[in-house]
Symmetry: D2
Subunit: 345 residues, 4 copies
């Protein structure tokens, strides 16, 4: 097979408005194990969306936007279900922004083509998904291009991602739904605490390498800005897809308010979809009870679902969309808050 | 139990020089499953250490330095087994630097004390390990203090961690072995690509919040500096404990050299200890063959070991220490390289 | 809480005919990871049901019938979707037959009540599910009672389970759907290769202990009878929920035909829902490619789905039920075949 | 590669007496996570061996005897560390008895040779291990041969396995250590509750198919005999490698004594090495606390270790062997007890 043949079967994103998962989720609530956990998690999600006092923070880790979940996640932004996002870089840049530029992911399979051959053909693989490496290089360079248009100072990743949204908006969006673009339009902040750890890193290193005066990405600013949101928001709920840095970073923000003498309550609602185990002591699989010992998460409304995200996230968002509590939620537009202030609130 | 009683059983770090794991590792090589994988991985580790052309990068994710592995990891720095480290922030700041300040971790158990009660007592829990939260706050403030002594400009996390090592050295090291301190003494760079995602974040947000002029942590600089090391080193091997940002970040550096027009070979050796599964498509559990499709890792000398790190890492390092190939390795002192140059090599 | 309060929230079984999973499964087919695997597995399930030449064997391991899947599995028998079942004993006796007697499972939670206290109250726990131990003892004794009515000779587990179905039928079924009862009515054989490893073991040991002349359960007969079905059926497909003995036993039957000089083709279709990993070398997580090396499973139509069964099995059966290929399947009634012959076919 | 080349690298079994794991296990006791769990489990193992009142039951699931653990497990029998064994059939027949006949396992790799090609060559694969299928057929036929020499009545699997030991003893043992042979010499009972689910099944179906009068394997007898041992033993400890039928069967025996009106205490000590997760509700990964709710396992001395067995079992047995509490243990020779009685004790 040549490259064109290998990259022929386009991956498509699920549209959770086309089916109503509510009867399923309700029935699952009377069963056992992860079915019941999924049902309870969805119930808490709806409760969180119905709570007028609560700001919702979504965290993303794992290859979600390349796996067909991009449109479902973008829908959450578009319909005011989410007020801030903390993500790995790959989801935001290599996957969402990449499709926003008009590129696509392709269906493949783990052992279909030898990885050495894929390398020679310039095809990158994520488990069962293929990417055209040339297109990914264009994505890297778009980041360098955007960096070149900005004043050479320190930025939070959020500020830079906002600029990426503006760039997409000006250029014309190359796909139907995009987190980066929707967040730009809705003033929803997106943070990538390890922003260099993705396609953005390539573009930004290129930018710094080739410019005497260059911008920097201040990772402290990310944490400071999310802390400011927590101070402003008061009540918060977190919906975590996967673990990793986004999970830890978002939980930590409660402690940060305390350290700044602006103590705020623990996250009132906490949901996590994960396949990680708690028995290796790593943060990704740590229980939400453990997070309570750190003063980060309250344990009244918390639920973990042990599942690979593609299987259950569409069901949860479909239920929440059809239930409709998002219709009464105000757009908090935290980008506006962050734009009008310096380091200190 | 009161706080003092709960925090009474001090966790101790394994000293891998006190037993010789070589007969065990050799015997495991003739067995099957993960025993054989462990033996093969150790063989590759020794091969990598014996390869005079090869620089070794160690990546750390998961709670390793709080779990009794701190001294074994520090030994790798002290004996020139490792030339650069990429880590999650918690390992470096909350755990290693924390013990370097003289604080300790304590043995606990998952369901021994209710997490709400731990919270009230100011005890933080990592699975079966306890931490005195008041001491952790002192650690946060030490970071703020160090930040206050530095010129307000953009730093890589590596630069800041070097300053932490100097601070420990000046103050007097509060434990026998420390990664941060050993790396300072040996000029081994340590990078935390998500540096705000740990105790450092608390200290640095405090620093920025309370100072009009403040330093920033440029995450692009981290990636640029590691890329410079790759350009300088040429041949490299990576020893990955866990996955997460450190795994991805370190693999990406090969691609970065290409983007800067300084193309260097893929990582020649690649080892990973992980409990992650490949079937969720996330980076942590992705195979090293998959990394080959991205042009990051060569597949001749690669091995994954499916195990929780505390069980197998002491065996691997004990074998390598007793085998002794580290005795002929030169100290590369990459901190010196990075000190003498600007953004561009 | 007293026993009655703890056992108050009845677990209910999902009815997969009340929602149509087809749009979801179709959308999942264009995504990645386990969503796509689930979609492909469902496609193979439908293909297998539409193949007039193919007999379908269902294997069950894990606590499925206590977890809300009983009615969905019984539906497969009632609608001719399945021609033989191989199961762990617990699913058939402690869970399905138990509910057939009119008893129920109750919703609980892992750490809601201390297990020592549950023990004192006579409540047995399966993760998040509670059982009244007194009722389970009645179930054990019903087995002893049935054994007492049978002629004292060697039985296959299938024969005994058929007698359990007759007993339920005579007594009046105490729940809406039951695998044991439906299999009795439809002449579908159910095998438990480790029949003593469940409530049946208690009843049958009681029977042997208290009777001079007693029946025995010949586990060789189970294997011989399933082999006869394979010889008769020719083409077969296997739908495996979990791994364990049922998976191995059913795969082995292909080899058995060869050993008897009646060589039959490998299982043409093979599906498995499992959370097991292949890296421990155990059979439960072994790939279906590995099974091909043993001559057991063909690799054209095989798919594993990495998920906890309660999450995905209702979706698969709902899709298959609504697709409707079962309407054209003949009832093979293999119990009749097995009734009319001796050891040899 | 031809068959001979593929089957050239012989797998060897670890000899745990050649290294002393005690310093390692002691050091692990002061660490965290699974290292500490392993240390505590080994401590309980030693405590159990030093308890003169306690009979030890070993349970085996997963491919252990083909993976290099055969000699370590046989050592436990040879040195009176274990008084009864409950196992999957494959460990006992396809792997241990098979090597006892003089055959060997070979080192391979998961994707080294295509599984279709392995099939054509008559090579069976267990993850990274190869078996000559022709030799496995000889093993099947040896079972048929042994069955042919026995009086045609109902046997427990234990009785049949004892006959296998006698057959090996008469023929001359074809390897250095064998569980089946050592158990025969030491009168240690071995039970396979699903005895047809392995090579024995092939041989025994062949036996029944070709003989008008044939023996049967009564799985109720297995459970009854193990219950008799529990009644005789009183205090018991269980050391479980993997889960599956052997775990459940052995735990259930406590309940069985109660049902027979001969109530005996719960298992006093309970250890399990497993990679299974509790969150699917299956027995294999269920906690030992959960087993307490069923009245099966006491919770004072219980410990699970989350690890693949080849990595940790040699360390535990090495520690126990060097600690030497086995030297004072009497051989209980439960085969003698079972030989001298009918169904009832």
């Amino acid at each position: 097979m040549n490259k064109k043949e290998i990259l022929s079967d386009v991956l498509r994103h699920v549209d959770v408005t086309t089916f109503d998962a509510r009867p399923l989720i309700t029935a699952y609530g009377d069963m056992a194990f992860q079915a019941r956990n999924l049902s309870r998690a969805t119930d808490i999600l709806n409760r969180m969306l119905a709570d007028r006092e609560c700001s919702v923070i979504l965290t993303l880790a794992g290859s979600l936007c390349s796996a067909g979940l991009k449109d479902a996640l973008a829908l959450m932004i578009e319909t005011n279900m989410v007020d801030a996002i903390v993500s790995t870089g790959a989801n935001i840049v290599d996957q969402d922004f990449f499709e926003g530029m008009g590129f696509r992911h392709y269906k493949g399979a783990p052992h279909q083509v030898d990885d050495q051959k894929l390398r020679e053909l310039g095809i990158d693989r994520i488990y069962d998904t293929y990417i055209d490496e040339d297109e990914l290089r264009e994505c890297d360079m778009a980041i360098a291009e955007i960096a070149g248009t900005l004043e050479p100072r320190a930025y939070s990743s959020r500020e830079f991602i906002q600029a990426m949204g503006a760039w997409l908006d000006k250029r014309g969006l190359g796909c139907e739904h995009s987190l980066v673009h929707a967040a730009y339009k809705k003033d929803v902040p997106i943070f990538c605490p390890a922003f260099s750890d993705c396609s953005a890193g390539f573009g930004l290193v290129h930018h710094q390498w080739h410019n005497e005066k260059y911008l920097t990405i201040d990772s402290v600013a990310d944490f400071r800005e999310l802390t400011r949101i927590k101070i402003e928001a008061g009540e918060t709920g977190i919906f975590m897809i996967g673990g990793g840095v986004p999970k830890n970073f978002t939980q930590d923000v409660v402690v940060a308010t305390d350290i700044l003498g602006e103590e705020k309550p623990m996250h009132k609602y906490a949901l996590q979809i994960t396949v990680a185990d708690e028995r290796d002591g790593a943060l990704s699989g740590s229980t939400l009870q453990e997070a309570c010992s750190w003063g980060k998460v309250d344990t009244v409304y918390e639920q973990m679902v042990w599942a690979e995200a593609t299987l259950v996230l569409p069901l949860m968002i479909s239920d929440a969309w059809h239930t409709g509590d998002w219709k009464k939620r105000a757009a908090r537009q935290y980008n506006k808050l962050l734009a009008t202030s310096g380091a200190k609130a």
